[in-house]
Amino acid sequence: MSPVTVDTKLLGDPVDRVDGPLKVSGAAPYPSDVSYPGMAYAALVQSTIGAGTINRIDAAEATAVPGVLTVITYENTPALPDGPMTILGPSARFPFKDNRIVHYGQHVAMAVAETAERAVAAARLVRIDYDPTTPVLGITNPDAPVEQNAWGLDTTRGDVEGALASAEVTYDETFTIAPETNNPLGLFATVARWEGGRLVVHESTQWPIMARQTLATVFELAEQDVRVFVPFIGGGFGAGLRFPPHAILTVLAARMLDRPVKLVLTRPQMFTSIGHRPETRQRVRLGVARDGRLLAIDHEATSTIGIEETNLEPITQTTPSAYDCPNVATHERQVRLNIPNPGAMRAPGTAQGNFAVESALDEVAYRLRCDPIALRLRNYAEVQPGTGLPWSSKALRECYRVGAERFGWADRNPEVRSMRDGDWLIGYGMAGVTFDWYQAPCRARISIRRDGTAYARSAATDLGTGTYTIATQLTAQLLGLDLDRVRFDLGDSDLPLAPQSGGSGLAMSLSGALHQAAGNLVGAFLDVVADDAGSPLRGRGADDVTATGGRLHLVTDPSVGETYIDILDRHGLDELTADGAVDPKPEGAGMTPAGGFAARFVEVRVDEDLGVLRVARVVTAIDAGRILNEKTARSQVLGATVMGIGMSLLEQTEFDPGTGRVANATLGDYLIPVNADVPDLDVVFVGEPDRFSPVGIKGIGEIGIVGVAAAIANAVHHATGRRIRSLPITIEKLL
C-alpha cells in the first residue's frame, strides 16, 4: 500500500490556475515569444497548384532583398532521414525531398532574413514555375485511391448481415461531416538554435518527447543532444501531435546559417501545415427488435487522407463498446486526395462516429415511438461488450438520469414541431457518449528541498487545459503540502518522459506517475530516518505513515511525526528526490479500463422561414471518474462544448473544387462560435473514482466535444421534423 493517499471525494478543489497570473499578465513564454540575440526570421512559400511538379525556381529577386540570408528549396536541401514512427503512424511527408507537389499550400520554399518583414517580402518574390497536373479531390471521387482498414481496426462480432436480414426494424442512412481545422489561437512557431553539436528547439508541440526523438532522428543526433521546450502553447486540439515539416525546415535553416532561426506560421498557413479534421462519410445500418433491443449495428466510415500519407482517424472505434448488441461490425475506409494531410482534432474519429450512431438511435427511437433515453437504457452495456469484463467504472446511467433531471427532459412533448415561441420552433435533443480509454507510460520526479518546498516535473505539456494546476494540486495533496509550497515543471524534453497531451490520456498517466513518485519520496524519507534515534518515525513502514501539513506522521496518531524540513536538516541533506512511473497494463486486471461517459441534452431554436438555428442551452452530465480540479475540468468541458457547437453549426474548411486551395483560410471566413452563439452551458460531474486508475481519474480532454452534434441534430429534428445528417447545419440545409 502506498503511504500517500488520494483524497476520497469525487470533486477536487476548484483552485485557480497556478499559471493564470503569468498568462493574464502576458508573461507566459509561448514558443512564438522566444527570441535569441542574432536570431534570423523565416517565412514560408507555399504551392499555388494542387498537384504536379516544380519546373523551375527563381529566387534571384528574393535573395536580392536587403537583409535576406538564404532561400531554402528542395534544390539546396540536403538528404535528411525520415522521422520515426509513432503510435500515430509514420512521420509527415517532408516536402523538400524532390520537386513534387501533392497539395495546394505545400511548402515549396523558405526565405530567411534579418527581420520577419524582410523574410515575408522575400518569400513573395520567389518565382516558381510549375508543371501542374489535375489534383484528385472530393471524397466521392471515383479516381481517388482507397485504403481499406489501413489501421487494422475493423471489428466484427456475431452475424451482422443475418441479424439485419431478420430484424423487425431496420435502418440505413448516410451521414456527412465537413472537414474542419483545429485553429488553436496560438500560431504554431519554431525557434531553433544550435549550440555546437547540440540542438535547442522551442516548438508548438503537444509531445516534447516525440519532438526530441524526431529531431534526433532527422538530424542524426543523440537524443540527449536535443532539447525541446514548450512551457506554454496557445492551444493545440491535436494539431501538435505530429512533428511538422516546417519545424524541420527551421532547424535546417538554423544549421545552414549557424544562427538561431524563428518561424511563426501565418493564420492561412495554419490551415495547410498542421493537419485538420478530415471530411467524413458514414453509413449506419441498424437492426432493431420492436421492443427496442439492438440486434445489429453495421458502421462503415470513410475519411479523407493526403495522397501519400497516413492518418489515424478511428471513426467507428467506440461503436462496438457503446451498446450491448450481439452483432456488430465496423469498417474504416480512407480516400486519398491531393489535400494537406489531415490529423488529429479533438476526439478524432469519435466526435464524428458518435454523431452518426447517436443520430441513428434517435431516428430509431422515433420510429419505435420510444423515448430516446429509454432506448439507450434498453441497450445499456453493463459490462464491456467486447471483452465481457466489468468496466473499471461506468456511470452512464447516472449521466442520463442526472442530465435529464437538470435539463427538464420529462417536460418534453415528444411530438415533433410541438413547441414554438413566435417565429422560433423549439426542440429538445439528447445523445449518449462512450469514450475510449487510452493511457501511455509516464515518468515523474519529485524532490522535497531543505526549505520544505516540493519540486515535481515531467516532460508533459499544458495546452491551456490545466496540467500545471492539477499536477501541482495533486502533488501538494499527496505530500501534505500547501499549494504554494509546490512547483511543477513541464514542457522540457530533458524532464522525465511523459506521453503526449492526446487521447485524453495525459492526466491519467501523469497523475499515476506523480502518485508513485510521491509514495516513493515518502519512502525515501522513512529510509533516511530508519535508524535515526532522533526521529519519532524511526523504523516506521510506509503503511504506518501519512503526510499532512508539511509533516510525516503516524496514521494512528498524528502527534507522532516530524516535518520534512526537520529530517533534511538533521541529516544535512539539501533535498530528497524520488521517481515514479506508470506503465498501464489492462491485461489481467479483471476489468476493462473505461474512458469517460456522458449524456448531452440540448435545446435549440429554429427560425424555420430563415433557416436560422441557435442553441439555447446545453446540459452535460459526465462521468470522468474522480475530478482533480472541478474548475479546470469544468472549463475543459465548457470549451469542448463550444467547439462542439462550432462543429455542429459553423465550422467547415472549404477546399476549392478545382485546386484544393483552402478558400476560407482566415478566421474572418472560417467561422467558430462567438460569445453570442454560446448559451447557458451546464456541466455536472457524476460517478465515482475509477478503479483502474491509481488516482481514480479518467481523461476529460476530448469527451466534451462528443455528442454535442448529435444532440443538436436530434433537437433540430424535434423542433422541425427534419432530420439533418450533414454537418455543419447551416442555413441552406434548413431552408
Binding site: T48, V65, P66, E117, R118, A121, R124, D423, D609, L610, G611, V612, L613, R614, L649, L650, E654, F655, D656, P657, G658, R661, A663, N664, A665, T666, G668, D669, L671, P673, V674, N675, A676, D677, P728, T730, I731, E732, L735
Partner: protein
C-alpha cells in the same frame, strides 16, 4: 520589402492635393481593408499613404430634416446618436449588426462606404483569375466556394459581394455623399455612388483619383415612418450577412403609402430594391404584397452552386423584414 511613404496631413485641402497630384498615392482610409490589402494580401500597391485620421471630418450635426455625418464619424458614434435612434432606427440596427464593438469604435462611416469586398479570390493574389484585381483575367469565384457571394448585379465576370450592413439602410434613405477633389466639392447620391459590376468590375465607385468623402447627408424620413433592419447569418454575431434587408415604411389605414427597401448580402453593390418598392407603394400591407414585392425584386439573379439558396432566402428576408416593420401578422 513593401516600402511606402506615410503622410498625415492636418487639413482636407492638403490631403486632397497630396493624393491628387500623385498617381501612386492613396488615402489610408477604410482602415482594415486598405492596410490588409496592401501589406498582408499584397493585392494593391501604393507608394504613398495619406492618413486622413487627423482631418476635421468627425461629428454629426442636424440641419432641419438632414443629418450631416462627417466621414470620420465612427460607427459607434452614429449608432449612439439619439436622432438616429429615434428617426432612422434601421440605421442604428444595421450599425450594431455589423463588425464587432471593438471595430465599431474605430471604423468610420466613410470607411464603411468604401470597404472592399471580402471575396477570398480577390484577396488572394495567388489566384490568377480575378477581373476585379487583374481586369480580363476571369473569375475564380464563379467555380469556387461562393456561399458569401452576390446574386444580384453579378455575372460570370464577377460575383464579389459588397458586404456592408450600414450601406443597406443608407441606400434606402437616398443619402447624399459629399466628395472633395482638387476641383472643389460635388455631391453624389449613394445609389449612384457605386457602379454596377458590369464590364469593369475593377471600377467600383464614381470616385476620381484623389477625391475624398467628406461627409454623408442623411435625410430624415417623415415622422411616422417605421423602419427595421434584418440580418440573416449562421453565426449570431460578427459575421457578414448571407442576406439582409432594410425597410422604411409608412402605412396608412392598412395601405403602404411610402416604401423604401434595400438588400444586403446579395448584391455586388448595396442593393436598392426599387422594383419591390413599386409593388409595395399603394398596396395593402399584407404578406401577399410582401411576397409579391420580393418576387418582383429577385427576378433575375445570377447564381452559382454555392449561392442558389440565397434566391429564396433573400425573398424570405424581404417578407420577414416588411412584416416586422409594418407590424402585420398575415
Amino acid at each position: 520589402m513593401t516600402l511606402f511613404e506615410y503622410v498625415r496631413p492636418d487639413d482636407v485641402t492638403g490631403a486632397v492635393d497630396l493624393v491628387s497630384a500623385d498617381p501612386g498615392a492613396a488615402y489610408l482610409a477604410g482602415g482594415t481593408t486598405q492596410l490588409d490589402l496592401l501589406l498582408k494580401d499584397g493585392v494593391i500597391r501604393s507608394d504613398r499613404l495619406v492618413d486622413i485620421g487627423r482631418l476635421p471630418l468627425r461629428g454629426i450635426t442636424r440641419d432641419g430634416d438632414t443629418l450631416r455625418v462627417g466621414a470620420l464619424t465612427t460607427m459607434d458614434a452614429l449608432a449612439g446618436d439619439p436622432v438616429v435612434a429615434q428617426r432612422v432606427p434601421f440605421v442604428r440596427e444595421a450599425l450594431l449588426a455589423g463588425a464587432s464593438p471593438q471595430l465599431r469604435n474605430m471604423a468610420t462611416i466613410g470607411g464603411n462606404l468604401l470597404q472592399r469586398t471580402r471575396c477570398r479570390y480577390f484577396r488572394d493574389s495567388a489566384v490568377a483569375a480575378c477581373n476585379k484585381r487583374v481586369p480580363g483575367s476571369g473569375c475564380a469565384a464563379v467555380t469556387g466556394v461562393a456561399r458569401m457571394h452576390a446574386i444580384l448585379g453579378a455575372s460570370e465576370r464577377c460575383i464579389a459581394l459588397h458586404a456592408s450592413d450600414l450601406c443597406v439602410p443608407l441606400v434606402a434613405l437616398d443619402v447624399q455623399v459629399h466628395l472633395r477633389g482638387t476641383g472643389g466639392e460635388r455631391t453624389v447620391p449613394l445609389t449612384e455612388f457605386y457602379l454596377p459590376s458590369g464590364e469593369s468590375p475593377e471600377i467600383e465607385t464614381v470616385l476620381r483619383h484623389g477625391e475624398l468623402i467628406t461627409r454623408v447627408d442623411l435625410p430624415l424620413p417623415a415622422p411616422g415612418t417605421r423602419s427595421g433592419y434584418l440580418k440573416v447569418r449562421d453565426r449570431a454575431s460578427y459575421e457578414f450577412a448571407l442576406t439582409s434587408a432594410a425597410a422604411a415604411l409608412v402605412v396608412d389605414n392598412g395601405v403602404i403609402t411610402s416604401a423604401r427597401l434595400a438588400l444586403g448580402g446579395v448584391g455586388t453593390i448595396p442593393w436598392r430594391a426599387r422594383a419591390a418598392e413599386a409593388v409595395l407603394t399603394g398596396a395593402p400591407a399584407n404578406v401577399d404584397t410582401f411576397r409579391a414585392a420580393a418576387e418582383a425584386e429577385i427576378r433575375d439573379p445570377f447564381t452559382v452552386p454555392g449561392t442558389e439558396f440565397k434566391v429564396e432566402l433573400a425573398k424570405r428576408t424581404i417578407v420577414r423584414t416588411l412584416r416586422d416593420v409594418s407590424g402585420v401578422r398575415s
